[in-house]
Each structure stands twice: as C-alpha cells, then as structure tokens.
C-alpha cells in the first residue's frame, strides 16, 4: 500500500517535471529570441548545417571542424569587417524534417548571416528552399547532385560536381584502363546514388562501354550475397557502385569471400575512413573513387591548411573539412568585398568568384552559379594510408 502511494507520487513528480521542462524550454527559448533580435550586432553568426550523429555524421563532423578552424582563423585576423565571427552548430542528424526545423531556427531565432552546409544533396535542397524564401545565403559544401543552385539566387555550393567528375572518370576507366564491360550497382534508398547512376550510365554509353549488369542494394543492409553471386556470373571488368562507403566495403567483403576479384569505382560517397576500416584487405587498392581533395601533392594553400588542421585536431582533414573551410572563407571574402553582411548584398560578390585558390582546389563559379573545380583526384586505399592518391585528372571548364 505504502509502495503504491510512493509509486503514485513518483509518477506525479515525473509528470510535473515534464510539464516544467516543457514550460522551461519555452521560456529559455523566448529569452534567446529576444537577445538575438538585434541582427546587426557586433558578431556575425554563421549557421552550420550537417549531421553530427546518424548515418551521414561522417561528412558532418569533419565539416564542422573545418568550419571551426576557418572561423578561428578569421577571428585571429580581426574577424569580418571588424566584427567577430561566431559559428552555431546544431545537429541535423541527416533527417529532412530535422534540417527544416534547424534552418528555420537559424534564420528566425539565431539571426545568422549565412548558412554553411549541408554535405548531402537532398538535405541541402530542403534547407535551400527555406533559405531562398527567407533571402538567406546558403552555401553547401558537398551537395553534388542536380537541382541545387536552380532553387534560387541565394543558393551556392562549393564541391566537385558529379556531372564534371563522372565522365572524366569513365573516360579514364575505358580509355586508360581498358575496362569496357561494366556492372553498375545502385543503392536504391539513397538519393545520392540514384542520381549518380544515370550520370555514370550516360557517360559509359557515350564513351563506348557496355553495361553488363545493373543491380540494386539498399543502405543499411548487410546481406549482399545474392547481388555478388549475380555479379560473379556477369563477367564484368569492373564494378561501378554509386552508393556510400559502408555498403561499398560490405560488397567488397562479400566479393572477397566468394573469391571474386574485381575493382570497384565510385563517387565521393565512398570517401569515408570507414571504407578502409570495414573493408580490410578486401578494399586494398581495389576501391577507386573520385574526389576534389587529396592530402597528397598539395598546393601551397592546401599544405598550409594541412599543417594547421593536423596541429589542431591531431588528424588528417578530408574533403568535407576542406570544403567547409573554403565555404566560410569564400563567404568572408564576399562580405569583405561587398562591405556588407546583408545576404542580398554580398551574394552579388559571391557570383563573381573566379579562380579562387582554396584549400580544396581552384574554384570558379559559372554564370549559372555552378562551381567548376579542378583537378579530379582519383583516390584509393593503399596499406595503412587512407585515402591514397592514385592519379589527378585535370578538368577544363567548358
């Protein structure tokens, strides 16, 4: 009886606690809103878009580090236009409803001056729609798919485009390596993958290759036995996989187990430390992917960045750290050139960017605001080193 009463009290207490946490949450948010109201204060706020947890956190976490570093360097040099720069970092978990909420919050509650991110195309589109409607500059550091900058004139990105890189890589496969018969596997529930597959397919047909097998997997699956068994019987010279690194490593594991020796080629979705960790010997020099960034044979800008990054985080930067870093720096340059932090003003300076020597390569914005970056780096896993540079293919802006 006594116990029951105790239980009831605990329950009541918990309910009260919940109500108060709800009310308390409201109240504390209200305060930040009021404090945040003077948008033209003495700090310039930049909102980070990216996942810090969840399945695409591997892109967001290094991105956040790159952004932090850029902001620190800017502040060390006196900030932008004499104002201190402040980064705000919410975790969007790689979910579209999350990023929509967070983007709205950055714009209306935190009053940021620019949004940096997201590394994924689908999520960037969600955020870009909201940013465009609110006349806020969004600068993606990784969205490679189609239909991003078309959303509006406040949307920018700094990344190696698949439509530029994939044909260059296919040309290298067919004409340099002589791999004519290709199998192609798509990750069906991955928007990046389903968008990349047609680009590869078109390039393969254009350059005179044959597609001998088309198959599908899903992100989050581990059983690829059926697909690999099919692949073994297809007689392909190489496999094009358009998905992410986790599934890539598991497919290669399965191939090794089934005694199939084949090279896998893919996009920068395969760029993740986990590729080497998960794949072990199965991916050694057998998985090749393209990216706009490599720590090998660095340009002077990249070398400086590498040194600072290693000193600060005690690890190597990847493409996302470099692109987030560049994104912040390019925004800072545009703000300085325009002498304004108003998105509708400094965006006019952004459009004019030409041959910007960033740490992630040389960037030029085309008339349609699409970036052309050169060169394309072909990367692979070699021994303990990830990623190891295989070759650099220069790209001409058409």
């Amino acid at each position: 009886m006594l116990r029951k009463r105790l239980m009831k009290r605990i329950a009541l207490l918990l309910c009260l606690l919940m109500v108060f946490s709800v009310l308390g949450g409201c109240a504390s948010k209200e305060q930040t809103t009021q404090q945040g109201t003077p948008a033209a204060g003495d700090t310039i706020k930049l909102g980070f878009l990216g996942a810090l947890t969840g399945s695409v956190a591997n892109y967001g976490i290094p991105g956040q580090k790159g952004m932090q570093m850029a902001i620190e360097e800017l502040n060390a040099k006196g900030g932008i236009l004499g104002k201190k720069v402040e980064g705000i970092y919410y975790d969007n978990k790689g979910e579209s409803s999350e990023i929509a909420n967070i983007t709205t919050k950055y714009i209306t509650v935190d009053k940021v001056s620019a949004l940096v991110g997201d590394p994924c195309t689908g999520l960037t589109k969600v955020a870009a729609d909201i940013a465009q409607k609110n006349k806020m500059v969004i600068f993606s550091a990784g969205a490679t798919g189609a239909g991003v900058v078309e959303i509006g004139d406040y949307v920018f990105r700094n990344t190696l485009l698949d439509t530029v890189a994939a044909p260059a890589v296919v040309d290298w496969m067919i004409n340099t390596k002589g791999w004519k018969n290709l199998a192609i596997i798509t990750s069906l529930n991955n928007g990046y993958s389903t968008a990349l597959t047609p680009i590869f397919k078109e390039a393969i047909t254009e350059k005179g290759g044959n597609i001998v097998l088309e198959d599908n997997v899903n992100d989050g699956e581990t059983d690829f036995t059926a697909q690999v068994t099919k692949l073994k019987n297809a007689g392909a010279d190489a496999l094009v996989f358009t998905g992410y690194y986790t599934e890539a490593a598991l497919i290669m594991n399965e191939a090794q187990k089934k005694g199939l020796n084949i090279v896998m080629v893919g996009g920068d979705g395969l760029y993740g430390q986990d590729l080497a960790k998960l794949g072990g010997t199965a991916v050694q020099e057998k998985v090749i992917f393209y990216a706009g960034f490599s720590t090998d044979q660095p340009s002077p800008e990249t070398a400086k960045f590498l040194e600072a990054y290693r000193a600060k985080f005690n690890e190597d930067p990847d493409m996302f750290s470099a692109q987030y870093y560049d994104a912040v720096m390019i925004i800072a340059k545009a703000m300085t050139d325009a002498n304004s932090t108003d998105p509708s003003v400094y965006k006019e300076e952004l459009v004019k960017l030409k041959d910007y020597p960033g740490v992630s390569g040389v960037t030029t914005f085309r008339a349609d605001r699409e970036p052309i970056k050169s060169p394309v780096c072909l990367l692979t896993v070699k021994g303990e080193k990830f990623p190891a540079l295989l070759e650099k293919i220069p790209v001409q802006a058409k």
């Binding site: 899903n218 581990t222 019987n233 598991l250 089934k258 005694g259």
Partner: protein
C-alpha cells in the same frame, strides 16, 4: 547459380529463424510482440564483438553473448513488461516494448557511435568446390550452429520439465498458475531463452557479413517478426520454417525477379500467404471464444 543462391538464402534465413524463435516463444506465452527483441539481437552481436576483440575464442564469445543477452532479456521483461502485465491492454505493452527498443539502440549509439563496425574474421573465409557449386565454409558452419541450436531448443521444450511448463503456459496461463506453475519464472525463462537465441543470431550475422551497427536490429527484427507470422506466430517449428522461407524468398527475389522490389516482393508474398492461410504456414487455427 541457383544452388549457390539457395545456399545464400538458407544462410540469411537461418539468422531470421533464430531471431524469430524469440518472438514466437514470447508471443506464445504472453501474446506480446516483443519489439525490443531486434535490439537484443544487436546487443548480442556487439557483446560477441567485444569478446572476440578482447581475444576470446569465437565459441566462448558466442556463449558469452548468449549469457549476457539472457540476463538482458530477463531484465527487460522485469522492468518494462511485468509491471504492465494483467492491468493493461496488449497495446500498452507494445508501446513499452517500442520504448525499450528505442532506448537500447540509442544506448548503443551513444556508446559506439552510429557507424558500422567491422567484425574480425574469426572463422576464416575459405571456400570449397562442391561439383559446380562454390560453398563457403562459413555458410556451412553458420547453418550447422543454427540447426544445432534449434534442435536443442526443440528437445528442451519437448522433453524437460521447464519445457513442459512453457507449453502449459502457452496454452492457458491462468490454468497453469492454478496447477502450481510459477508463471513469472517461466515467462522470465522464456525471455532468457529467446534472447540467447537472438544473441547467437547476432554473433553469427556479425561473423558472416563482417559488420555490426547499432540500428541493425530494427530491420532484422521486422523481418524476423514477419518470418514468425509467416510460419504461424506462437509455433516453434513455424518460426524455423518461416525464417528459412523468408530468407530464400528474399534472395530468390533479387536473383530472378528484381532487386529493386526485393522487400516489396517478400512482403507481398507474406500478405498473400496470410490471406490464404490466416494462421500462417504451420500455425494452429484456434476457434475464438467469447
């Protein structure tokens, strides 16, 4: 290629079957869909990983994971289900189970991060030729372990006193109580046995596919539940048959129909089976009582 794909399907199916057994045993006794079961399977895989990484023999790791998950299963039952038993609808217990499931997978994410972890190769990756068929030793070992566990389970349920008590409880919980069966103990044991089997499945899947991740339980749990229902929920042989059938169907779907509609094919067949045989493949038809 057909035989190789069939073997692929049987291996996948045996992992479904091991998880489905836990669902079906618990369901048979308390009519609860234990949604946290997929997460128990995930914990089993991770505990196995820790033990193997710490240098233990794989069979020790397998037993260790099974023992750990036995305790975990009993703990879940004690904390999240027993307080609800008898005083609420089955749906509340279901929500509680979902709560546990979310809790456990988040716990693992916080501990290990959300990414996939590689399982060390512990049983070697050799293959041998059987006629025109290429068989990996791993597949054979996994099939053997799964078969052994299922035989042991079947014998335990049929021959031992506890097994008899379990069967009695699944027929009529109230009457068993009147006959002097310690119902709480039996339910707790059922959770323990089911969880141990799931852990075995988790460790084996980890070894076979070289990968474990915190969300692996969600889809596997869903598929295993489908397998249990396909076979006839509450029936132990049904779970085995359902698991193997679902595994083979899925692989054959990819091999000969379309990999893009893989899950849809598996579920469509499941729905058809249920419409034709509402009690599942080998389930018993019970007449409804008022």
């Amino acid at each position: 290629m057909f035989w190789e794909q069939l073997l692929n399907g049987l291996t996948l199916g045996s992992s479904y079957a091991l998880i489905a057994l836990g669902y079906t045993m618990v369901y048979g006794i308390v009519q609860l869909i234990n949604f946290a079961h997929g997460e128990v399977y995930m914990f089993g895989a991770f505990v196995g990983l820790f033990l193997v990484t710490a240098g233990f023999n794989i069979f020790v790791a397998l037993l260790g994971a099974m023992a750990f998950c036995m305790l975990l299963g009993m703990l879940i039952e004690r904390v999240a289900y027993r307080p609800l038993r008898g005083k609420s609808s089955r749906l509340s217990a279901l929500i509680s189970a979902i709560g546990v499931s979310i809790f456990l997978s988040t716990l693992m994410v916080l501990y290990r991060g959300p990414n996939t972890t590689r399982y060390p190769e512990v049983l070697g990756g050799s293959t041998f030729q059987l006629g025109s068929l290429q068989v990996s030793t791993l597949q054979i070992i996994i099939l053997l372990i799964a078969a052994l566990l299922m035989v042991v389970l079947e014998l335990a349920i049929k021959k031992t006193r506890v097994g008899k008590a379990m069967r009695a409880c699944s027929q009529d919980l109230e009457a068993s109580k009147l006959m002097g069966v310690n119902v709480n103990r039996i339910i707790s044991l059922t959770f323990a046995v089911g969880s141990a089997l799931a852990a075995a499945g988790g460790v084996m899947v980890g070894i076979y596919y070289n990968a474990v991740w915190p969300y692996m339980g969600t889809m596997a749990g869903l598929k295993a539940f489908a397998a249990a229902v396909l076979g006839g929920i509450g029936s132990v042989p049904g779970a085995m048959i359902g698991g193997l059938t679902l595994g083979v169907l899925e692989i054959m779907g990819i091999a000969y129909l379309s990999s893009s509609y893989k899950d849809a094919i598996a579920f469509a067949i499941l729905i058809l089976v249920l419409i034709i045989r509402p009690q599942g493949l080998v389930g018993q038809k019970l007449s409804k009582k008022v």
